[in-house]
């Protein structure tokens, strides 16, 4: 009796310690991401990024954090106070909860949920939307309401392809365990097996974390920050934190599911994992530094007309592959076929204006020709 | 000071080389607007017609629809305060014919003038601006709310008697 109690106590303590470790680890990661984003974006735009605080501006995120925490926390008069306060907490808790089961190496994980890792990720990832909607509504601001509704529409739409890709990976690997999934990728990373899955997951992931070109729900030039418009100080910092944790989570999942996780020669596995994750994150920042933003209807059309059908197609492909026990390159071929379909569809729908422009230029040229004659 | 042969509204004969434009406008208008007192002059190389308020609207429609003038664009509308009356200048421009015609209209401050915003949409904001600055009411204009000034501004700042360095608390 006493023994079981003490083992239970030990379990609780070890879980608590690992949670605290995770929390501080993520905080450090977020600080590094803030610095990296400012620096990378600055460099992409021919700026220098932060330079003043510490060497290369390395202490800038700490200065930011201190400033944000010390700032006055303003609650609007008409705001629903409870909801206003609870919303950021929901967002950040859901962001942290995701991390409980994500392994960094087979050894470093808080609690590897063996039979339901992917399932847990799919389930917990959705909670954050609630927080965003509540934040928008609770702050009694019309921009906030619009932003919250946009967030709900966008995140729920892109959750479907995301989960479908998770399911297809699970079908191929016959497991929900992330460690097993990574180990199964040791000869061939899944990016070669499921290129379509990789693209779908990455694009849907960008939309999930609201990164350009899908930063619609807080588009600062249209709805001035959306759900976050009334938040300031520490509350805003919490949203900021969760945004970066989510970005990091999506990058990590991309690496774990498609890029072979921690496997790699020479270097220790955790280093390989971090290298891959930061590469994916830099790609996200690079996209942010290049592209404009889509409009909400174009975004939804892209989700429901392109992403969702393709993700279903992917699930069917994987099922066929597993059922007939085909060689792995068969799946690649099928997946590539899907990618070509993506290309065609994007070409048809997204570049329709581009073709029209070409047509217009042709007409203009002929007009000028006739004028010259 | 350089001496200058200026073309004021009273003094037409000083610009003989531009007479053909005026005479053309004159013949065109005098056949259409018989019995209406029209004065022709030049505003800086622009043939200008001074029109009484009551026939302003008809004249504008004529200048817009007439093929020789084809003034599809209301280029500018300016109010000038001459203390006892206000003069409104309409600068009409035709893109097809590349010609400019000016229309002037003298208005007493207590009378109203018909709007041209139903002829040219551009007149909408110009008239609101003139209403702001000079207090002239435009008949038939739907929305005469202040455009440049704020609601509750007192006085008409375009007028000459509006104090220059006075300050209104908003």
């Amino acid at each position: 009796m006493i023994g079981s109690m003490s083992s239970y106590f030990q379990d609780a303590v070890s879980t608590l310690i690992s949670l605290l470790t995770l929390f501080s680890f993520l905080a450090v990661i977020v600080l590094s991401l803030v610095w990296l984003e400012r620096k990378a974006l600055g460099r992409l735009q021919l700026r220098l990024g932060p330079t003043r605080t510490g060497p290369f501006g390395l202490l800038q995120p700490i200065a930011d954090a201190v400033k944000l925490v010390l700032k006055e926390d303003i609650v609007p008069n008409d705001a629903e106070r409870v909801i206003f306060w609870v919303a950021p907490i929901i967002v950040v808790i859901s962001a942290f909860m995701l991390w409980v089961t994500i392994p960094f190496t087979p050894g470093i994980v808080v609690e590897n949920l063996e039979n339901m890792g992917l399932f847990y990720i799919g389930a917990v990832g959705v909670i954050g939307i609630l927080g965003l909607v509540l934040a928008g509504w609770g702050s009694a601001n019309k921009y906030g309401v619009i932003g919250g509704l946009r967030a709900a529409a966008q995140l729920i739409s892109y959750e479907i392809p995301l989960i479908m890709v998770l399911i297809s990976v699970a079908i191929v690997t016959q497991t929900f365990n992330l460690v097993d999934i990574v180990n199964l990728q040791s000869p061939v990373p899944f990016v070669l097996v499921l290129p379509l899955g990789f693209v779908l997951f990455f694009v849907a992931g960008l939309a999930e974390v609201g990164r350009t070109p899908f930063d619609i729900y807080f588009a600062e030039s249209e709805i001035v920050g959306g759900p976050f418009v009334e938040y300031s100080g520490a509350h805003w910092a919490v949203f900021f934190l969760s945004e970066y944790i989510n970005t990091f989570a999506i990058a990590t999942l991309t690496v774990l599911l498609f890029l072979g996780g921690w496997s790699g020669p020479f270097l220790p596995s955790i280093v390989w994992l971090l290298i891959k994750i930061y590469a994916v994150i830099l790609l996200i920042f690079w996209i942010r530094g290049t592209l404009p933003r889509l409009r909400i209807d174009q975004l939804m059309a892209f989700a429901w007309k392109v992403m969702v059908p393709l993700s279903f197609y992917l699930v069917v492909c994987c099922s066929v592959y597993v059922f007939y026990e085909m060689p792995w390159w068969a799946l690649t071929v099928m997946s590539l076929f899907g990618l070509v379909a993506v290309g065609v569809i994007i070409y048809r729908y997204i570049t329709a204006p581009a073709r029209k422009v070409a047509e217009v230029r042709e007409r203009l040229r002929s007009l000028q020709m006739t004028q010259e004659e | 000071m350089a001496d200058k042969s200026d073309c004021t509204s009273e003094d037409v004969s000083d610009a003989p080389e531009l007479d053909p434009q005026i005479s053309k406008l004159k013949t065109a208008l005098e056949t259409e607007f018989t019995g209406v007192d029209l004065l022709f002059s030049m505003t800086d190389q622009i043939p200008t017609v001074l029109v009484p308020t009551e026939s302003l609207h008809d004249l504008c429609i004529f200048l817009k629809t007439n093929e020789d003038y084809d003034s599809k664009m209301l280029s500018c509308m300016a109010g000038v305060d001459y203390v006892d009356y206000c003069q409104i200048l309409y600068v009409l421009y035709s893109i097809n014919k590349n010609c400019t015609v000016g229309v002037k209209c003298n208005i007493n401050y207590d009378s109203r003038v018909q709007t041209v915003s139903d002829i040219w949409k551009a007149g909408d904001w110009y008239e609101r601006e003139i209403h702001d600055l000079y207090g002239i009411e435009f008949e038939g204009h739907g929305d005469m709310s202040p455009l440049l000034l704020y609601d509750g501004f007192e006085g008409y700042p375009g007028k000459k008697d509006f104090p220059f360095y006075d300050y209104q608390e908003y």
Binding site: L44, L46, R47, W286, T290, I350 | -
Partner: protein, 158 residues
């Protein structure tokens, strides 16, 4: 899609270009080079031959200032009495409200005595609105700094 990819390649190449030759310059260490004709705040010049300001307080600049940012008074020049100076009158007080000044340079154009110049000073700051009024000594100081920096000489027109 092609144009998107092109754009991404462009941002990447500009990154590497920027790494080699950054466009941004750090400000206090690396201030922007001022062009010779740069118009900063107006200052009054000092006649080193006679050791007095060029300004006689004739009020031409004050009348021509579009924003009425200056005031000045004149007095009898004590040096005229002992014949060390040709100036019958000399400036007594001169004040420019730098908050009102729009740095248009009209005062320099109209001045007949080369007494006022647009200096290269542009980094003034103060903690109150009143702090941006500059009196005669301050104006002579920034004018004198301009003179030594650029080797300004009065034009020979008077």
């Amino acid at each position: 899609m092609l144009s998107t990819v092109k754009g991404m390649i462009q941002t990447l190449s500009s990154t590497f270009r920027g790494l080699r030759r950054p466009v941004t310059k750090l400000y206090p260490e690396n201030p922007t080079v001022l062009q010779n004709r740069f118009m900063g705040f107006p200052g009054l010049t000092w006649d080193k031959n006679v050791d007095e300001p060029f300004c006689t307080g004739c009020m031409v600049c004050i009348r021509n200032c579009p924003t009425q940012c200056m005031t000045a008074t004149m007095k009898d020049n004590p040096k005229f009495a002992d014949e060390s100076s040709k100036r019958r009158k000399i400036v007594d007080e001169f004040e420019i409200n730098l908050n009102r000044c729009i740095l248009c340079g009209i005062c320099v154009d109209v001045c007949n005595f080369d007494a006022i110049v647009m200096t290269h000073e542009h980094e003034e700051s103060g903690i109150s609105r009143d702090g941006s009024r500059m009196d005669l000594s301050g104006l002579l100081e920034i004018g004198g700094r301009y003179q030594t920096q650029t080797g300004w000489q009065p034009s020979s027109k008077d």
